[in-house]
Amino acid sequence: MRMGLRHRFWLALAGVVLGLLGVIGAWAALLWVQLGPAEREAVAAVLGRRPLFPLVLVAMLAVACHALLRHWFARYPRAARRLAEETRIVLTANPAHRVTAEGAEEIARIGGRINALAEQHQGVLREVEARVDAARAELAEERNRLAALISELVQGVVVTNVEGRILLYNQRARQILQPDDDGGDGDAGGIVGLGRSLYSLLDAAAVGHAVETLQQRRERGDEGPVARFVTYTRAGLLLRVHLALVLGEGEGGIAGYVLTVEDVTRSIEADRGRGTLLRALTEGIRSPVAAIRAASETLEAFPGMEPEQRRRFEAIVRDETLTLSGRLEETLSRYAEHLEAEWPLEEMSAGDLLAVLERGFATWASVATRARHASDALWVRVDSYALMLGLTRLVRRLRENEAVEEVTLDVERAEPFARLDLIWSGRALDAGTLRAWQEEPLADHGYGSLLTLAEVIKRHGGAAWSQCDRTTGRAFFRLFLPRADGGPDGALHLPRGSRPEFYDFDLFAGPAAGTELDRVPLAELVFTVFDTETTGLNPSQGDEIVAIGAVRIVNGRLLRYEIFDQRINPRRRISLESQAVHGISNEMLAEEPPLEVVLPRFHRFAEDAVLVAHNAAFDMRFLQLAERRSRIRFAHPVLDTLLLSAVAQPEEEDHGLDAIAARLGIPVIGRHTSLGDALLTAQVFLKLLPLLAAEGITTLGEARDASQRTLLARLRY
């Protein structure tokens, strides 16, 4: 029973008892007045003999009242109050809770009704939740599909928010915008990464101009336009960029930008080269031809000129004809270099090409194919559709004219080309037949009608022939294809099934510009979690960093593909103790760059982020001592997982990285490499965040204050 109710109970009891006593007293007084003197004496005598009688009477009355009132209280006010409390639990904390129907019948009936209502309420809630979950899953699915689609595109795609922070990018964009990609740092320009600025990659003025143009067009009611511009990257590449607006809530109804980037350096250069060649050719032949024509016309017009004069003109014709021949040869040889780049060929794995051909043969020529397994590493540059049409035509001819029912496809490396063999049992084609077949149009209509096998062969370099293999008695048609080593432009091949974190649409709703950093929720910040390995433990006595490893956390997500991993030549001996810890020896660092080179790169990697390290004071001391030499200042806010762990779990004593990881259930791999430790620290940090939130620590400022307050913070390293 709560205090309030108990209080009321005793008040009511006192009221009832006093009331009854009053009534009894008044009745006794009234009786007393009506009694005669003798009767009064008798009553007085009775009372005088039993003085406790009225008291007993009062006590009995009180006990009876107490019992009755208690019973009533339990059935009415207390039952009602309990009903109210339990209903609140149903409403706020636990919709599955049911009230206990007790007390008076009426109250119990209300309880039953409330339970029925709760049942209904819970049903509705469940349904809403299920719908929300489904919608969320659908959205996630859509995003994943979109990201997967974009990651496969040949063009580079970058999506940013209005401030130019990158929300999504694909492999190709990274290759183009950060061409010297060796693990997340580049000398020439910025870094492609989620949450990073587009303007470190592309000229801000050029992007700004395109956006302005689009906004003007939009104001005129021209929706969904695309702006194009050509710009140079800092690495000197010429890019063609298409920019479109992402409409949504935001300044001026714009949520961000979609950019596709294409490296046109090579094609523009090729175009320019061809143009120059053509001009050199036309201008180069004009003069000699003019001289020849003038001389020959003169010879013709003046048949009677003197022999000496005539010989002079004839010499001119001869000289200039030779000049002309030389110029023609020169042009042709230079043009040959351009020819190769002319037809746009796609890069394709040899295995995929065989699959395409096999399908084509079966569908269009009704010929079965046995494809020999092609090496995964073999990539070719082909126009696969044209090649399919051309070879299918050939196979159909083989079936019709040579009764070939089955062919074998084989592709192999043949320096410097790839050799594609179409093999069948039977005789080889003689050159005349092959030539005739090669000149036939590949189809009656469409693309194929404009093509011949000869043209297709020409596009791929022009070398094909048919021959008989004497050892097997089988004939083959052989075609040399240009190779594309290492896959499409040396693409970064990721293990299948691992979709890198190339997008984060939540960045659309990033913290508003100008929000004071300390007040930003931790979950919305960008963190660079890093670790260093050193020559020893005393930076003040000249110990140096030998390795820096770092990973990024954006919007609460660890980006495993945006890493920094660099060894450094310390130019001093590594102490044996340290070597025992990290296993790095001076010999291993001989070829590595010095700290003055690495530190600016790391600084760029950590741009706009909060630095996080385990026992950060140690690492920061090394960085700060190097500041003067490298002229790089690390003015970033810093968080220390050691201190944060002490804040989140004050009752624990061991806040070593291994101990925390074990407590938080994080598997430990790759310890004592700077990148491995940085990864572990990042995972620890992410697990600490909810624990800190439970302590009411949700912003950077609060985390820093709490770190300051912990006792450990007072230690100096």
């Binding site: 001009r279 036309t282 201008e283 004009r286 003069s287 031809v289 003019a290 001289a291 020849i292 024509r293 003038a294 001389a295 016309e297 003169t298 017009a301 003046f302 004069q309 002079r312 003109f313 001119i316 000289d319 200039e320």
Partner: protein
Amino acid sequence: MKRVLIVDDEPNIVHSLEFLMQQAGYETRVARDGEEALQGVREWRPDVVLLDVMLPLRDGYEVCQRIREDPETAATHVIMVSARGREVEVAKGIAVGADAYVTKPFSTRELVAQVRRALGDADGPAT
């Protein structure tokens, strides 16, 4: 005798032009670069200049401009004869003051006719 200044740095074409102009009855002189051409125009006062565009020292466009700027020589007929045949180049030649722009290779007969027309003696001295 009317005077034709032939400006070209390629001796083979110069030889033919010289022979043709002489046969057409004109007095000729040859300049092999831009400087020589300007000097020739100022000192020798030709009636017609056959002017190549690609010349050492000063190019044909500049030579033509200079001829037009100097009131003493402004009336000289200038026929540009050039291996550059793009439209913009022809337009530029006319814009800087050439009376005609002939691209190489050209018909010798037409060139002679053009010189004659420029000098107003279509029937001209017999060849």
